[in-house]
């Protein structure tokens, strides 16, 4: 026994930046170790004979060889339980406000802070009774975590047995609320669970995504829908409005929980998120949006190893809420910075580099990470839960052929191409409709047919065709001018303009236009296409093209975007379009 204890401590042998070598430590891969006298947190990333290579989550300046390194025997884990929501963490789940209290405005090292508050007492209400049989994932009880969120307390995975004791009342997350008698003995269950971040949490069954994540943003919902449990990538070129798009998604998407990971981004930008999110109102409850949000902030100058860990911390928290039967949207901003952190650590390990210096396992890691998205049946409930991942990529020099973007596009099925040129033309949200795509269209078709309208997909396809055609025609127009086009093609250009201005463009800062439900989207589509059909018919009956193209009612479709009672308005507009065109035919 004494011998075994001895092996848990090794001696620092070599230090070069965030990667250190330890001798005489018996450790498993990804064990968490405490480095040096200051007990800096680190993680084992390579074992080579007697040498153990550790990446350290804090600055290593001043650490000397010969200092002790202790193996905790645990893997890098997050604390899961009531108190997660409204929290602001760094990459390894240390709450930033607590760090500020303990070490001031700058992040110093050697300070440990648990992810959750261990003193606070929560009101626990049992959902199960003594004598009932439970298994991993079952809901034992619930806690009103924030005014809008009822936190389910679950049996930790891999525990199965009969409840011998369960009690209501106020408890801290460490106190036992329930005792389960299992085959191996009795287990005390507290509200706190720990889970290693690099391991995905178990579920009963994964399902094909078949329900859209509705965002209230027309360009996403209509043209490039994302499924709940799906994955999407957004490239974020300079000044294309990525931040506003992400905030709109956080605010309006029909996810129950938002996990936002700021990974290696700018400090001032993170501040914007950290200061604005707490002021954002949840349009559904009227309360603060933070009540269903977890923020993780690891800026570019914070330790690189913690940056590497931050996306795993985020996705593990997301999976935990998924297991309660919630729909979780996780945003990673930006996954390119995460990949760069991998590259940096890999080069410190002197690994053979792959493309552009990235490690050869880049594609595998990216795929593994995005695979943690998904629509699942959790262990303990029949209500489906999902994790939807929206990852931002920042291609170097705007070059999409670089490895991170390419490997990301291979695994995600929705691509929202933010375009700085559109932003400069004040087209918002500046999603390029020609380069974006969604492969969920087919899978979601039945859902839209059932919940929106039977001809939804047909309308969408038709509009996409018009937009594609416009792109081709515009090339000709640049050479010869629009007047020399045949009337039919002039009409196509006009209809495309209506689609761009009335459907694709949406004002995030307007009270009403900021959110658009499916019914409204559908009516807008219908009205635009009504004009297209009638105008086309009128042209065939030899109405004068300039008259057809300049009828007044069509421009009023746009007014409906800003109108609460859009139905009445659009019906009226449809009637005027009909009567105006009828008048021309005469």
């Amino acid at each position: 026994m004494a011998d075994k204890d001895k092996k848990q401590v090794g001696i620092l042998y070599r230090i070069a930046g965030p990667v250190v070598v330890v001798r005489g430590l018996s450790a498993r891969m990804y064990d968490v170790v405490r480095v040096g006298k200051e007990r800096l947190m680190g993680e084992v990333i390579r074992i080579d004979g007697d040498d153990t290579v550790v990446q350290v989550y804090e600055d290593t300046t001043g650490i000397t060889p010969g200092e002790p390194v202790e193996n905790t025997g645990e893997r890098l884990s997050v604390e899961l339980g009531p108190g997660l929501l409204t929290s602001i963490y760094d990459g390894i789940q240390r709450p930033l406000p607590v760090l500020e209290e303990e070490m001031g405005n700058f992040i110093l090292r050697g300070v440990d802070a648990p992810g959750l508050n261990h003193e606070k007492k929560w009101e626990f209400k049992p959902l199960k009774k003594k004598g009932e049989s439970v298994k991993g994932g079952d809901f034992l009880g619930e806690v009103q975590e924030t005014p809008t969120f009822l936190h389910k307390i679950m049996v930790p995975p891999h525990i199965e047995g009969k409840i011998t004791e369960i009690k209501a009342g106020k408890y801290t997350i460490d106190e036992s609320v329930c005792v389960v008698e299992t085959a191996t003995g009795s287990h005390k269950i507290a509200m706190l669970q720990k889970w290693p971040v690099r391991l995905s949490r178990p579920y009963a069954k994964k399902q094909a995504p078949s329900v859209p994540l509705l965002t209230g943003q027309r360009v996403f919902d209509i043209f490039f829908p994302l499924a709940k449990g799906g994955a999407a990538a957004i490239p974020g070129p300079f000044g294309a409005g990525k931040t506003v798009s992400q905030q709109q998604l956080a605010k309006w998407s029909d996810a129950d929980i938002i996990v936002y990971v700021g990974c290696g981004e700018r400090g001032n930008e993170m501040t914007e998120v950290l200061t604005e999110f707490p002021h954002l109102k949840d349009p559904r409850s009227g309360g603060p949006l933070m009540d269903r949000t977890v923020l993780i902030a690891n800026t570019s100058n914070m330790p690189v190893a913690a940056r590497e860990a931050s996306v795993y911390t985020g996705v593990t928290i997301a999976e935990y809420f998924r297991d309660m039967g919630c729909h979780v949207a996780m945003m990673g901003d930006s996954t390119s910075r995460w990949a760069e952190a991998m590259r940096e650590i890999s080069s410190r390990l002197e690994e053979m580099p792959g493309e552009e210096g990235y490690p050869a396992y880049l594609a595998t890691r990216l795929a593994e990470f995005y695979e943690r998205a998904g629509m699942v049946v959790p262990l303990g409930t029949t209500k489906e839960g999902s994790v939807t991942v929206i990852g931002a990529v920042s291609p170097a020099g705007g070059d999409f052929s670089e490895p991170v973007t390419q490997n990301t596009l291979r695994v995600v099925k929705t691509f929202w191409a933010l375009d700085a040129k559109l932003a400069q033309r004040r087209h918002f949200p500046s999603i390029n409709w020609l380069t974006s795509y969604s492969l969920y269209m087919d899978g979601l078709e039945p859902w839209f047919a059932k919940h929106a309208a039977a001809d939804w997909r047909a309308l969408v396809s038709r509009m996409m065709t018009i937009l594609q055609e416009e792109d081709k025609l515009l090339e000709i127009v640049q050479l010869v001018g629009s007047d020399s086009l045949p009337p039919k093609q002039q009409l196509t250009l006009e209809v495309a303009r209506l689609i761009r201005e009335f459907l694709l463009q949406q004002n995030a800062f307007h009270d009403i236009d900021t959110y658009c439900d499916l019914k409204k989207s559908y009516m807008l589509m219908k009205t635009v296409l009504l004009y297209a059909d009638l105008a086309s018919a009128a042209l065939e009956q030899r109405a004068r093209p300039q008259d057809v193209l300049s009828i007044k009612a069509k421009d009023r479709i746009g007014e409906a975007k800003f109108e609460r009672d859009y139905e009445t308005l659009l019906k009226e507009v449809q009637k005027s379009i009909e009567s105006e065109i009828r008048a021309l035919a005469r």
Partner: protein
Amino acid sequence: MTTNKEYKTIRKVAGPLVFVEKTEPVGYGTLVKVTLADGVVKSGQVLDTSDDIVVVQIFEGTSGISKDAKVKFLKENIKLPVSKDMLGRIFNGAGKPIDGGSPIVAKKNLDITGAAINPYSRASPSDFIQTGITTIDVMNTLVRGQKLPIFSGSGLPHNEIALQIARQAKVVGTTEKFVVVFAAMGITNEEAQYFMKDFEETGAIERSVVFLNLANDPAVERLVTPRMALTAAEYFAYEEDAHVLVILTDMTNYCESLREIGAAREEVPGRRGYPGYMYTDLAMLYERAGLIKGRKGSVTQIPILTMVGDDITHPIPDLTGYITEGQIVLSRELHRKNVFPPINVLPSLSRLANMGIGPEKTRDDHKNVSDQMYANYAEGVDLRGLVAIVGEEALSEKDRLLLNFAQLFEQKIVTQGRKEDRSIKRSLDVCWESLRSMPERMLTRVSPALKQKYYGGK
């Protein structure tokens, strides 16, 4: 702990690195003194430490170091002595005074690595800094706590622009302390003379702290220079409540040194031979700009870098652009046309501009004017390409006006004197003078109320 031993156990000297065998534990990143046979003392920093061998980078270069040089490990990190008296002084790249004055009596010795600001402790930047240069103030507004680099090319007048900003920068309407920290890395002696002369002639030196690392100074010292400058800046900002503007020139030289060290250590190179950790390394410098909740001072940065071959996708400008909040891009074409300052507004951007402008901060028409000029100038420049093919006669009246505006924009708005300090009001008025060359109805980005107020002229 034992007292500092002296070793005579240098095993290998390679480029700027010295490999020393030792017996006592040596901390990573700590300071090292090397005494040569002729009594010359050099200093260095531990880059890699293990049980037996320590790798030291020597700031003054390794020339003259032999295997019997004496090595002493100092068990402390590199520190900069700071005090208020640093104002008006000139230091070398390693923080030693070179202006003939007395050494600084330290009020504090600060670790130059600096720590990351807790994102939760940061305050949002929102105060406008007037540089007196119209293209920056109106169209790429700089705010306190921002880092806004100048992307230049060799042979372009970025130094003049930097000096003009250093002289003129102020926060309008306050009497708060304003300090300029100027750090030059690898600039030529001639350039240094030019800087010093200008600083002294204009009196800007009195509110400045200058760090100079010249082209013939050791390359490794360049890695320390910006950290010294930022440490001094943080001292003035957070302990003396000053608003500090840090000008770092030329970051390209800094990155070259980084690459040199990487190569000497035989590291696996990343893109174009630069080390894989360059992003993090640059971030640790640039991210030291900012504002902290509850503290009065601020650190604003203007790093200057010359783009290799004018290539904006080169790793140095590319990684910089991903960390900084925008960029100001100089154009060789404008420079050839004799436009000063040759700032090309089209690829330039200030990501925080909207936080520093508006009725209370600058003027009510600021945003509209900026948008309008961007739109008109962009269209005007596009039309130049067309004119080259079809000739000016083929243009419509509207196109001709836009073409003319692009010309006016470069001649009247971008162009300004090297000593001309335009207030923001003056800058906006200059913009209106050119906007009036177009009929009112063509100014679609300006609201009718503002057009009524400003279009008519005074």
